[in-house]
Subunit: 355 residues, 2 copies
């Protein structure tokens, strides 16, 4: 049915199988730093319409692959599709970030949350996955994704982005059983959502825990990692006769990588505040690692970018199980040719580490 | 000359000497969560005038001590007094955070920076220290402070608060020797500034490295810790016949505590993302630890606050060398009685850990 995969370096690295070089992709590679992305977004009218129009979501997913020798595509979507499908009233205001009109703050709000059928309320995402797989034609694998229950929960409870997490942390410390019920609900929805993406054609999935690093170690284990582990245990892990690898990424979670390696995930994302060599020791090669160039390195000139790519490759060191990436999403004000310098440097400098 | 110190628990804990209970203070304890602070600030006209008027700075420094049984006062000031004194044009716009009119971005800008004489350009700070010491009358010790060169540098180069640190990281990776010259200049100014505070009466000093955690481990050592270590080595460490302890605090620096313990500091601040028990093992009791309640715990009801205080005390465990604090500044929208619940809980729950 699907075209055979021409470049499976990314999937093999996630399973710690040998590859001739280190595969590379960039978080938020389909994004505002690309003029062609800005043009398509303008055509869509707004960010949410871009996510909800499968042909346009496919177009922006493929744009970075036309510019750079990347080893994976990632579905263009947003971690807030689930609150949107739950009917909480999601809006993206220009320059303001996301806003949720009806935040969930009480036991009654939690009880009122509907169940989701991803092929109905989130059908536009699955349609995008199917269109992208067809258009990719086996060039590279397609990554599906979702936010972690804790991270999505922060938006759902706060009503948008937050710095101090007033409401959700008030709940975490003051009414923890309410928060557990909310997170259990989001966990069921997220599991079904990722399984639907896999059924539609996602060849690997990543769980973004952008705000797990705002928690204490004990709260992280209880309110974030616990639910990500539950998701991983319930994913359908095979498609097209291959294993579907799972990547967990907790930004600011460098100290917890050993715990995260027990989650059942195949690979862990690492941000730039943790040395990959240290991370590799912490996980004792039980999982692959993905990362971790400081995205702000891309503000520097190409020669400096190349040198820093070399440092990241050296910090992981000899052997397999490394997927090169930024330590967080690419910044919108980076020159596109600086991303090219990074990708090219990975291609040129990584083969010696795989001999 | 000065009144004898009636409560030296804080100074003794910083030097890991025995105390009958754990001393406690709060970062940003003189701040917007207190209605009396907001009244004094309104009287001053704006934030900078409040910092620059010694009698008003003294008044807000003492306000939290009237409400809570705190074991230290901290000079009311700002980490951006140095860029202000350097003539870079500092303004605090309502709700906007700090703005620096003439950011330092080139080698020429760096060469043009003047030297500082803290008793001249920053005399208002030393006057505030002297007034506060007189008014404290030996009740508790007074903490002086400064920002780390890296952290102050981020504002100086970016021209204000930043998320991605575009300009300073562009310099760090693209023109590192320029950045080193800037940081060396800020290090000299900060050393003189802290020594002037000690001469004026500060009985302990703290270096706030709010943005060190935005760096990679290698960049942190080279561009932040290196300069803080240089400051520590050049401080005058005695006053009134007592040692003046130094506290280093890198927010997000939990993974680097062992390196920080080599700096010569007496104590390290720890944010809530690192368990104090883990931190204590990392530093092997070479330094005292200060922290680390999640400031957002204060959004929860008093009973939950008390339970979380108990967890923090238990995570440090038996023995001396712990100063209780929040893991970051108190949030402006916290009810003042919730801060009382925290302070009271430390008084009540900590004695068993000191037997």
């Amino acid at each position: 049915m699907s075209a055979p995969l021409k470049n499976d370096l990314f999937l093999r690295a996630l399973l710690r199988e040998p590859t001739p070089r280190t595969p590379v992709w960039m978080m938020r590679q389909a994004g505002r730093y690309l003029p062609e992305y800005r043009a398509t977004r303008a055509q869509a009218g707004n960010f949410l319409k871009l996510c909800m129009t499968p042909d346009l979501a496919c177009e922006v997913t493929l744009q970075p692959l036309r510019r750079y020798a990347l080893d994976a595509a990632i579905l263009f979507s947003d971690i807030l599709t689930i609150p949107h499908a739950l009917g909480l009233g999601l809006e993206f205001e220009a320059g303001e970030g996301p806003r949720i009109d009806r935040p969930v703050r009480s036991a009654r709000d939690i009880d009122a949350l509907p169940s989701l059928d991803p092929e109905r309320e989130l059908r536009y995402v699955m349609d995008a996955v199917r269109v992208i797989r067809r258009e990719l034609d086996g060039k590279v694998p397609l990554i599906g994704f979702a936010g972690s229950p804790w991270t999505v929960g922060t938006y759902v409870v706060e009503g948008g982005s937050s710095k101090n997490f007033q409401h959700i942390k008030g709940m975490l410390y003051g009414a923890p059983s309410d928060l557990h019920r909310l997170l259990a609900h989001l966990t069921r929805a997220t599991t079904d959502y990722l399984n639907a993406q896999i059924a539609a054609g996602a060849q690997a999935v990543m769980i973004f825990d952008t705000w797990g690093g705002a928690l204490s170690p004990a709260a992280y284990r209880e309110f974030s990692l616990h639910y990500m582990t539950e998701i991983v245990a319930n994913l359908h892990r095979a498609a097209d006769g291959r294993r579907v690898p799972v990547i967990l990424f907790t930004k600011g979670g460098g100290a917890w990588l050993a715990d995260m390696a027990d989650s059942g995930a195949d690979a862990l994302g690492v941000d730039w505040t943790t040395d990959l060599g240290t991370a590799r020791l912490a996980v004792a090669d039980r999982v692959a690692l993905q990362g971790n160039l400081d995205p702000s390195v891309l503000y520097a000139p190409p020669a400096a970018i190349r040198a820093e790519v070399g440092r990241v490759l050296a910090s992981f060191g000899q052997g397999h199980g490394h997927v090169f990436n930024l330590g967080h999403g690419i910044h919108p004000d980076v020159p596109p040719e600086h991303a090219a310098a990074m990708v090219d440097a990975v291609h040129e400098l990584s083969p010696p580490y795989h001999r």
